[in-house]
Structures are given as structure tokens and as C-alpha cells.
């Protein structure tokens, strides 16, 4: 019976993770996995083959209740922007849990090489994951803001790694016959290594690190599965271990950093993605085309701001296709036409008429400006000066006094252009550094074509 529950829980994890991979089913997938987890926990407690003392049961239930309340409240209270650090924290809890299990079980399996391997692995991996996650949490949190980097850092780091592994292997080979304080030394080493692992890494790479630590914790959980020959722990742990690894790779890819450079040495190093040559130290956020596709697909209202770049790229046909596609998914789409967008009066009209964009979809600046506030996504394609807030704020700017499209009122601003270069007026655009802004770099035609392809797959 218990095994059946475990099987069901295992299945719920597999299917849950699968569902988490699709926007439409993700929420349900999470719920499903949670249900499976409840089954596994309840089963473990209430279908335990041997009788359990009331006190122990009370303790267990107490811990569960306390944990539930704390976890729930923390998770509900946290602000959207702080979620990644929360995840990191929770991950650390999981690692600590695995380490504690190993600490307790160590004495019970003296002499059993196999079990000892599981225990030691669980202790090491769990501890690294724990201390690493805590550091990641503190970094994201801002508590630990400096990126520490000792001089011969790599050396020290690798030394610790070798020490930890060596001691761990020795313990296993001696099957737990060594004194307990050696175990404590191992624990300490692992904890320190976790700290060393994460401390030098910059904020931008943190999500990758968390994902990696996450898959570590998965492995730690799996070691527990080995120990108890418990299938649900094994399934859950291995699943998270492998899925987490792939996810880490995928995240690296999305950030355009090879995983190898993340794991070895180059880890951190300032975070290439975070600072695409922003002037004045400002930083620019990159967005992948897939993310843009999802964002648009789940929007209610999208306003497209075409500019000279759209004409240069001759992307008028694709943008019309995008518009039709979004409309067919009942996203409202309009074009905001700035009076001097392009290089001749009415340039955008000429362009969009060519691809048969309905005249009704073209909205003048005065009319569209109040609409941005109720807009989910503004997609700026090859426009620059006409959305440059300096025109309003900077009296020394050559475009000061020109009315602009007030796209910063919208919830998300996505700007597609090939680079950070300036437009006709030759000036920098503060909008690119706006917190709501994401950039999608590339030729407009290429980017929009891919965007349409991505959208079609959703």
C-alpha cells in the first residue's frame, strides 16, 4: 500500500514536471506534484510498518505544522521581485535536511560501505547546497553585496574541494569506524566549500547557481533514497537532479554563457549579460524571443511602435503577420504612429499600407498616449528618437520639446533594434535603461520572423 502511494507520488512528480514545462499546464503541474508530496508524506507517517511512540509522532506532526505555517506565510508574503532569493532559501532548507539525516544515520550504519557512501554523499552534497544557497540568498537579498574574490582564489577553492572529497572517501572506506569528530570536520569542510563556491559569483549569474544548487539538493535527496531503498525519494531526487542540470544548461544558453565557463573559473566575473555596454553604468536587460512570445501571448493589449528600423529591415509584412496572429489569440493590437517616425512624413503609413495593415489599427500619438497605461506590452520596433524620454526631461537634448510616445506608462516595454546605437538625432536613449524595458537585439525582420514562429508553436 505504501509502495503504491510512493508510486503515485513518483508519477505525480514526473507528470508534474512535464506540466511545469508548458505555460498552460504549469500551475496544474505544480499542484499535482504537491498532491503527490502530501501522499508520500502522509503515507510515510501513517503507514509505517512498526508502531511509533506518541511523542515521536507528535514531534513529527508538530514539525510539519510549524514548517507549513512558516513556509506558507513566508512564501505568501514575499514580493514578486524577491522570489528567486526565497527559492534559494528553501533550497538551502532541503540541503540542510539531507545533511541532518546523514548526521543522524551515520552511527546506525557503521560498517556498511554502501550505506555509508550514501550517508557521506548526502552529508557533503546537502551541506554544500545549504551553505551555498544561504550565500546566494544573502547576495540576492543585498545583505552580502560585495563580490569577494581572494587573490589565489581558484587554488583555495580547489584545495577545499579535494580535501572534502578526500575526507569523504576516507570515511566511506573506513565505513564509519572513524571517530565522530571526523564527521564534524567533513561537515565543516563541506559547509565552507559551499560558501567558497558561491561567494565569488556576481549577481547576474545567481539564477544559474541556484539552479545548480537545486539539482545538488535533488541528488542529496536521492542519496536518502538509496539509504532507505525508498523509491519516491529516489525518483524525486534523481528527477530533480537531472532536470535541474538540464535546466541549468538551458539557463546558461538563454544567457549566452557556456555552462563550462559558469562551472569552471569564469563563474561570475561580473555577469556579461547584465551590462551590455550601458552608458553611465546603467544596465540593460536582454530578453529572449521565446520570452517575448510568451509575454505577448498572455497579454490583453499590445501596442506596436514602428520606427525607421522597421522600414530599413523591410519587416512590414512580418509585423502584419504578428499582428494578425495575436489578434487571432484575442490579443488587442494597435500601432502607435509617431508623426515623425521614419525619415519622411507618413513613412510608417506608406510602409504599413504596403502590407495591408488596416488603417483603423493605426493610432495617432495624441490619441494613443493615454492608452499606454492600460497596455500590457509595448513593442518598439526599430524606433528610437520617437520614444526618447529626454525629449521631455532634458532641456539640453537636441530633441527637447518634441512630443513623444509615452511608452513608459505600459507594463512592459520591449525594444527591438540591432544594437545600442543611436537614431537620427544621434543621442542616447534613457528608455533603454528603464527598469520596465527589455531589449531584443537583432534585425527587425529576423527577430519578428522568429517571434512569429515561436508564437505559432504556443
Amino acid at each position: 500500500m505504501l509502495n503504491l502511494l510512493y508510486l503515485l507520488a513518483s508519477l505525480s512528480f514526473i507528470v508534474g514536471i512535464k506540466m511545469l514545462g508548458h505555460p498552460e499546464t504549469a500551475r496544474k503541474g505544480n499542484l499535482l506534484a504537491a498532491v503527490g508530496m502530501v501522499l508520500a508524506i502522509a503515507g510515510t507517517i501513517f503507514l509505517h510498518p512498526t508502531p511509533v511512540s506518541g511523542m515521536v509522532l507528535a514531534l513529527i506532526l508538530g514539525a510539519l505544522a510549524l514548517g507549513t505555517v512558516l513556509g506558507w506565510v513566508a512564501a505568501k508574503r514575499v514580493m514578486m521581485t524577491q522570489m528567486p532569493e526565497m527559492v534559494s532559501l528553501f533550497n538551502g532548507m532541503g540541503g540542510a535536511c539531507a545533511a541532518l539525516i546523514s548526521l543522524i544515520e551515520y552511527h546506525h550504519h557503521v560498517g556498511q560501505a554502501g550505506a555509508m557512501a550514501s550517508i557521506v554523499a548526502g552529508l557533503v552534497i546537502g551541506s554544500v547546497s545549504f551553505s551555498g544557497s544561504i550565500i546566494a540568498f544573502a547576495k540576492l537579498n543585498g545583505t552580502l553585496s560585495k563580490t569577494l574574490r581572494l587573490p589565489s582564489y581558484n587554488l583555495i577553492n580547489n584545495a577545499f574541494l579535494i580535501l572534502t572529497l578526500g575526507l569523504g572517501i576516507a570515511l566511506v572506506l573506513n565505513s564509519g569506524t572513524w571517530p565522530t569528530y571526523m564527521l564534524m570536520v567533513l561537515l565543516a569542510l563541506a559547509l565552507v566549500y559551499g560558501v567558497l563556491f558561491v561567494v565569488p559569483i556576481g549577481g547576474a549569474d545567481m539564477p544559474v547557481v541556484i539552479s545548480l544548487l537545486n539539482s545538488f539538493t535533488g541528488l542529496a535527496a536521492a542519496t536518502g533514497g538509496f539509504l532507505y531503498d525508498n523509491k519516491v525519494m529516489l525518483t524525486g531526487g534523481i528527477l530533480v537532479g537531472s532536470a535541474g542540470t538540464i535546466l541549468t544548461v538551458a539557463m546558461c544558453k538563454a544567457m549566452n554563457r557556456p555552462l563550462s565557463s559558469v562551472i569552471f573559473g569564469a563563474f561570475g566575473g561580473g555577469g556579461a549579460a547584465a551590462s551590455a555596454s550601458g552608458t553611465e553604468g546603467n544596465s540593460v536587460k536582454d530578453m529572449s524571443i521565446t520570452d517575448l512570445a510568451v509575454l505577448m501571448n498572455y497579454s490583453k493589449k499590445v501596442i506596436i511602435v514602428p520606427g525607421y528600423g522597421l522600414a530599413v529591415a523591410q519587416a512590414q509584412h512580418v509585423i502584419h503577420e504578428l499582428e494578425e496572429l495575436l489578434e487571432s489569440r484575442s490579443v488587442e493590437v494597435k500601432y502607435a504612429i509617431h508623426p515623425v517616425a521614419g525619415r519622411m512624413p507618413g513613412h510608417m503609413n506608406v510602409l504599413l499600407a504596403e502590407s495591408n495593415v488596416s488603417y483603423d489599427k493605426l493610432v495617432e500619438m495624441e490619441e494613443v498616449n493615454p492608452e499606454f497605461a492600460s497596455t500590457d506590452v509595448v513593442l518598439v520596433v526599430g524606433a528610437n528618437d520617437v520614444v526618447n524620454p529626454s525629449a521631455k526631461t532634458d532641456p539640453s537634448s537636441p530633441i527637447y520639446g518634441m512630443p513623444i510616445l509615452e511608452v513608459d506608462q505600459a507594463q512592459h516595454i520591449v525594444i527591438n533594434k540591432r544594437s545600442m546605437s543611436a537614431g537620427y538625432a544621434g543621442i542616447d536613449n534613457p528608455l533603454f535603461y528603464h527598469p520596465k524595458t527589455s531589449m531584443v537585439f537583432g534585425d527587425a525582420k529576423g527577430v519578428l520572423t522568429k517571434l512569429v514562429a515561436e508564437l505559432k508553436q504556443m
Partner: protein
Amino acid sequence: MLELFEHNLDLIYFLILAAFVGVELIGKVPSVLHTPLMSGANAIHGVVIVGAILVMLNCDPNDTLNLILGFLAVLLGTLNVVGGFVVTDRMLEMFKKKK
């Protein structure tokens, strides 16, 4: 070595297949889902709590130290599980169907 392999054949197939499933499942996930997926996976490895519970269940009721450690382990595991699922759910709110 080969012996170890032969003895744990079932386990090894299991591991390989499970790892494969994990890899295949993630396959081509849109990158917006990276964070929620990580968070969901995070909650799932909270299954380590099962181990913590087992520790306590098998614990001598008088072994206070281990009981305390066990209690802590269960508490931490619960935090991982509950916090993980709830945070994931909140992250996924943005994918609610509009209208």
C-alpha cells in the same frame, strides 16, 4: 566494480531511465518558465523530508539529541516543500488565462 554493477542492475536501469525522463521532460521549455520550473523542482526535492520522517520514526524515543536533530530536519524539509510549492504557484499566477 563489475560486481557492484551486476548487483545493482535494477537500480542502475532505474537511475538511467529516471535521469532520461528528467532530461526529456525539460527538453524545450520556454525560458520564461525557467524560474518557475526551477522553483517547482526545488519543491519536489523536498521529498527528502520522507527521509527525515523515517529517521524520526525509527528513532529511539529517548535519544533526545537525535530527536531534536530529526525534528529540525522535518521542519526544514517542510519549509522546503511548502514554501517551494507555494512560491511556485505564485510565480505561475501570471499564466492564468486572461478574461
